[in-house]
């Protein structure tokens, strides 16, 4: 089965600026793809093109197998787009706002009523039905905007930085809503410049910087690929002072030992804990599993020297590290 959305070699110039550079990825129905990158990476530009609001300089986007660049009019009923500014009107209630867009989508009479009701139900807006949109909190405004994208029951949702500026509770609620939508079989494309927002929401992620796609795949794939690709890893170990020698002395001895080992740098002592870094020489290409290999070697040395180590662990990689390692630290 082919993916619902296929983006092939998408490129967009603004004058001489390459905002999007040869981006390729696909998105099957029922999955959530996180589009991660710093401000100005080209996320919004890519999403606007997929939403038929802009045209690529070159490249192709297929939605349900058909080119949406050639026939935006045919693609529009299949997609729901939420811009980073939510786009609501003043002087309108939640109901009137949704009802207006339902009319614009040519829903008539009872069908429209049913649709608007079901969307308000789903997004939990029923109690706020008659409130003016201008009086809503940011989280609620965003739900109104999300509700609007659902009115015509699209297959693909494109949400540009929806979690930006939301409080943690609203963010968790958003995650639940998106999960529910994905389980209904909708494909969701969601962007953020804040990584932690997305790591729990997405099935797959795509890391973008300066218009380039740096890594794509399931969250697990990107993590393992980037942790291998990383040129360093943080290690923390704790010591036990019950063996006669004072803690300080043990710590100093451990520090000395560690500094003699190859690849070990940045050793720091904190009471009974030591932190250090395993780091490859500049320019060396990381081989798969080098961190594990080096850790085992260091631990062996410590144990042979009868250092009382009670714990030894390399810090787990998360999306944040993955992001830092593939973008080579070019973000603030």
């Amino acid at each position: 089965m082919s993916a619902l959305l296929e983006v092939k070699g998408l490129t967009r110039y603004y004058g001489a600026l390459k905002a999007v550079d040869d981006i390729t990825f696909s998105l099957p129905a029922g999955t959530i793809l996180g589009f991660i990158g710093p401000n100005g990476a080209g996320k919004s530009t890519t999403m606007r093109i997929i939403a038929t609001l802009d045209v690529p300089t070159s490249g192709e986007v297929l939605l349900d197998g058909k080119s949406l660049v050639a026939r935006p009019d045919q693609a529009r009923p299949l997609l729901g787009y939420m811009p980073d500014r939510y786009g609501t009107y003043d002087d309108m209630t939640v109901f009137e706002f949704l009802d207006f867009f339902a009319r614009a989508y040519r829903l008539r009479g009872n069908e429209r009523k049913a649709r608007v009701d079901s969307v308000m139900d789903f997004t939990g807006l029923m109690p706020l039905k008659d409130k003016l949109t201008s009086e809503l909190s940011k989280g609620m405004k965003q739900r109104v905007a999300l509700g609007r994208t659902l009115l015509h029951d699209p297959k693909l949702l494109i949400l540009d930085e929806p979690a930006d500026g939301l409080d943690p509770r609203a963010r968790i609620e958003l995650r639940e809503l998106l999960r529910a939508l994905a389980s209904q079989g909708k494909a969701v494309l969601i962007s953020s410049h804040i990584l932690t927002e997305l790591s729990e929401i997405c099935d797959t992620c795509a890391i973008i910087e300066q218009g380039h796609l740096l890594a794509t795949g399931t969250v697990q794939e990107v993590l393992s690929r980037t942790s291998n690709a990383a040129a360093f890893s943080e290690v923390e170990l704790t010591l036990w002072a019950g063996a006669g020698m004072p803690l300080e002395e043990i710590a100093r001895k451990t520090e000395r030992l560690l500094l003699e080992q190859p690849l070990v740098t940045n050793v720091s002592v904190l009471n009974n804990a030591l932190r250090f870094r395993l780091e490859l020489a500049v320019g060396a290409t990381p081989a798969s599993g080098w961190v594990e290999e080096a850790s085992v070697r260091v631990l062996k040395v410590l144990v042979n020297a009868e250092i009382p180590v009670t714990s030894f662990r390399t810090r787990e990689h998360d999306l944040e590290d993955a992001f830092m390692s593939v973008t080579k630290g070019r973000v603030q």
């Binding site: 786009g87 309108m92 009137e96 009319r103 609007r148 015509h152």
Partner: protein, 483 residues
Amino acid sequence: MSAQAVTAREPDAFDRFGEQLADRINPIVVKEVRQGLRTRVFWIFFSLMLVACLFISLFAFAASDGIADKAGQATFIAYFVCLGFVQFFVIPYAAYRSMAREAEDETWVLLTLTGIGPRRILAGKLGSSVLQGILYASAATPFLLFSYFLNGIDLPTIIVGVVISMGYQIFLVSVSVSLATLAESRLVRSLLHFVLLGVLLQGLGFGITGAVLIGEFAQKVTSTAAFWLTSLAVLFGMITTGLLLFESAAARLSLATEDYARGARFVYAIQFIGAGLLFLWGWSISGEAEVLTAGSVTLSVYATLVGLFVASDRDGMAKVHWVSGGRYALLKPGGLRGFVLVISLLMLMAVAFTGLALGEGTLPMGAMLVLVAAPAFALLMLSLPVVVARWIPHPPWQTPAMIRLVFLGLIVLMTGVPPLIGEIVSDADDLFLNALNPVVGLINIERQSHDAMPLVLLVWGIAVGLGFSAFFSLRSRDTEWLA
């Protein structure tokens, strides 16, 4: 009990009718009305206008014994100033703001995505403004009628005043809404805002001057055909120009895959043909054949300046429309079809007016030759830029902007350079030097009358040659595009 049941059922049926109606009308109108009724601006101006009209009435009533027969006229004008302020300033300005905010708040793209289309969005804005205007006007109508009872103004004048003011309002709202669609960046937006304020203040001035003129003179002339002709011409001009602006804004905002040209071309054709008919009516009323010459010149200028935008549309069109229309579906997008449409209308007018003038036979030779030559200059000025722009190899696709630029350059060159040469070379033959000058050339033809006959033939010959050359180059482009 039963009475209750009846009163309970009635609004139900009414509601259902209202809902069905609201289902069918433009959703933008529904939205704007809902929003409009909630804003303070509407109610403030509505009550202000009513209070002002009430004051005027009281004042007029109190003073009516003293200034006897002028009272009606003065109050009519006073009412009109109040109504005009709302209709010619407040409503168009609100329409501009409402349209500009769609772009500012990025709700415009959301509307576009619903598939509602730029044309319906603009129509919704226009429609809701007209609705508001009707509301204000109907609130003011009883007062206007009151001025009738004060004497000094007749009923036809009042009706013409109200109808023309509605037409003028449609025109101003179209200008405002179309201006708002140009506001793509913040800088342009703030610039346009000033332009709009200028235009609307000017427009308000014109509107009130118009009301004064109607109030002053109408009574003496409402019985004449010339009055009705003028009123109709003014109304027709305002409404069709408003619609033309509206349709071109809609066309500009449409996707290339949409059938975007239809509305604008239709209004163009209507305006051209309508204006032609108004000139014919003027000719039949006045019995003076010079009206035909004036018509020929006016329509030729119109065909050149406005038609240029139709004739220089971008090449080709979406293949979907090609399949359903064919090469000469003149209302469909594409440079070739636009060019053929403009030239066909021009030739139709040239043949009709020349035929009628010849049939009547009272036209002096000079005026006759101008009548015949004017369309030739229009054909020349429309074809030449197309031909020249096609010689320029880059960019490979002839953009509409390029053709319009070339047109501008050619106009400057052809009207400015020959007289300049005439100044330098003192013994140059002015007649032939300015043969292709659309301004001096026409004046020369009028002056020289009989001697200018070969000149007219020459202009026609060159124009027809260039016309065909433009046509064939457009057609070959079209074929290339489709291949």
